[in-house]
């Protein structure tokens, strides 16, 4: 894999004012890079700011502070129409709820072609139709489906229509905001495999947001673990699963159930207690092992390094 950075997120902050004096720090100082062609998994419990991160990266929210560099260019800040349009084509999003993400009053054809209409990608009606049918087939749907309305489709089919809509503008980076959490397990595999196939065919880069850990491990190259708006651990997928360092990650991994009664009987669950941390200084993001970053203080860093740093990366 080439180690060319596609997206760089620098000290990204997203705070929401909820009252005159109260502020919710949904995302509080995120730093990470996404390399070209990889799938970056973002996991964490509900409400820890995963979706907000995704939406802020794609400019649905204006960031409170920090910057998002896409191909070296800042996404946020003032931009003229042309720049915005270019950016909108490069970066796309797949949404969580397939029942809410398609306009019930529009035909599938118009939903998928919306991006083409906005960016003027189809010269005439015929080309538009042909492109829509091609996209429908790419995502494994019938081309007759173009004339139907969203309510006639199942959740999995709808999600594939959502994927086709995102693909219509030929993006290079797709943010998948929990694209499978609203689907059946059997359909989840279908959608994830489709995403993998598309990645190979179109050299896509994904930011895959999810809370289903096993699915994230399956699809991601690297995984970031979020906790209360902060990234607590970031490592290669295998490394993270085999050698979780941060206690929160350990707790998260210990909670994965497996369909194996023998294992389940002996499975030990760790509870994460944030008060166990060393509070002598502000924790920082440090590289404990090559490519494996953990949020920790100096003292903890020494401790982690002694405990985990020696283990050879597999």
């Amino acid at each position: 894999m080439s180690k060319e950075k596609l997206v760089e997120i620098r000290n990204l902050k997203q705070h929401f004012k909820t009252g005159r004096h109260s502020v919710v720090k949904a995302v509080d100082g995120l730093n990470f890079d996404i390399y070209k062609g990889e799938t970056f998994g973002l996991v964490g419990e509900s409400g820890c700011g995963k979706s907000t991160t995704g939406r802020t990266i794609i400019r649905l929210y204006d960031a409170t502070d920090g910057e998002v560099l896409f191909n070296g260019e800042n996404v946020h800040g003032k931009k003229d129409r042309e720049q915005l349009k270019k950016f909108n084509r490069e970066m796309q999003m797949i949404f969580q709820d397939p029942y809410a993400s398609l306009n019930p009053r529009m035909k599938v054809e118009d939903i998928i072609a919306e991006g083409m209409d906005i960016h003027g990608l189809a010269k005439d009606e015929k080309e538009r139709k042909a492109k829509v049918q091609e996209l429908l087939e790419t995502v494994g749907l019938n081309k007759e489906h173009a004339n139907r309305y969203p309510h006639e489709f199942s959740g999995g089919q709808r999600q594939r229509i959502g994927i086709a809509r995102a693909l219509a503008v030929d993006p290079s980076f797709i943010i998948a905001d929990e694209p499978i959490s609203a689907l059946d397990v059997s359909i989840q595999a279908q959608v994830v495999n489709l995403l993998k196939k598309l990645q190979e065919e179109n050299q896509l880069t994904y930011l895959f947001i999810a809370h289903d850990l096993s699915m994230v491990k399956y699809i991601s190259d690297r995984i970031g673990v979020m906790y209360f708006g902060k990234m607590v651990e970031l490592a290669d997928a295998d490394d993270l699963y085999k050698h979780p360092i941060h206690p929160y990650t350990q707790s998260l991994l210990s909670s994965i159930p497996l369909p194996d009664p023998d294992y389940e009987r002996s499975r030990e669950r760790f509870t994460y207690d944030p008060s166990n941390h060393d509070t002598s200084e502000e924790p920082e993001f440090r590289e404990v092992r090559p490519g494996h970053w953990v949020l920790c203080t100096t003292k903890e860093f020494e401790h982690y390094k002694k405990e985990h740093g020696a283990v050879t990366t597999s």
Binding site: R55, I58, R59, L60, L84, K85, N88, R89, M91, Q92, M93, F95, Q96, D97, A100, S101, L102, N103, P104, R105, M106, K107, I111, E114, G115, I118, H119, G140, L141, N142, H145, N147, R148, Y149, E152, F153, Q157, G162, R165, V169
Partner: protein, 375 residues
Amino acid sequence: MDNYKPQKELFVPVERNEGESEKISRPSLSFWQDSFIRFRKNIGAMLGVFVLIVLIVMAIFGPMFNEYGENDQDLSVAKMPPKIEGLGWIGMDGTLTTVQTADTLEDAERKALMRFSNQEEFIDMTVLSNGANGEAEVRAVYDPYAAKGLEENFWFGTDGLGRDLWTRTWLGTRISLFIAFLAAAIDLVIGVAYGGISAYYGGRVDNYMQRIIEILVGIPNLVVVILMILILDPGILSIVIALTITGWISMARIVRGQILKLKNQEFVLASRTLGAPDNRILRRHLVPNVLGLIIINTMFTIPSAIFFEAFLSFIGLGLPTPTASLGTLIDDGFSSIQIYPHILLFPAIVISLIMIAFNIVADGLRDAFDPKMRE
């Protein structure tokens, strides 16, 4: 049975191909087609539509059915009862009936004759009780058409100035409907624009716009209307302005609520990530999704506007004479309701039919657009 094991050969895998499972056999229906099918099944609502069509057609063409003009006065044929050839059996036989009681039979008969200006030869008198027990009762049936030697019939009768009520009723219906449609259309435009802008831009804009609405709601409607009518010359336009000055508020609130709900839906966000400009989002995503509610609300606005116009006319703030509207006609008829009830009856029936029909149709539309909302 215990140890019976089906042979393996009996099982054949079902041929299943990918394309088949993705097929949808149901015909493709848009939201509007689907709603129309549901609406057509609603007998009451279809009946309401039929009544409305009949009334609207009559409002347009009714006055042309006879030669009488709206303001053709003829005092010699004042207060004629309704007469339609062949419809005598439902009471439209052009006669007036009175029942008089007195101590003696003669007194009763004299009172009956006086009631119909002593034209004895055109009065058909029936004795109901001959006064043997101290109370006499007679029923007199008077035929004014014969008494006045009239050839033509007044289908709905005439009013106190001898104007044909058929013509005036349908002209009044026309004007009432016109006022209602105009008021509803203005409500719709202002309400949708105001509510849409308030919700879509949100934040401080929304805050200020809602405070303005609250101030307007705080002033009693009738006070505003009376002041408006006092300032403006009475007429159709001033009534419409009076109706719309506060009428758009409910529409604005409904639209605002819907758009607030819709604008954070994922399909709108998706459109924004694709780079859609505001007006495209409003036009393609928000308005089509609120349209059902807008239509329903307009359908409820029309009858209430008709009713309010009638109410204003009835209390004397409405259209100036001699313009006919359902409200002014009812006001006219009300003054002689006990002796000549027909003057009030027909406009009252028409206004009732309009109100009921519009409400049933609006109800039916609501059920058709949103079947989940029923109960």
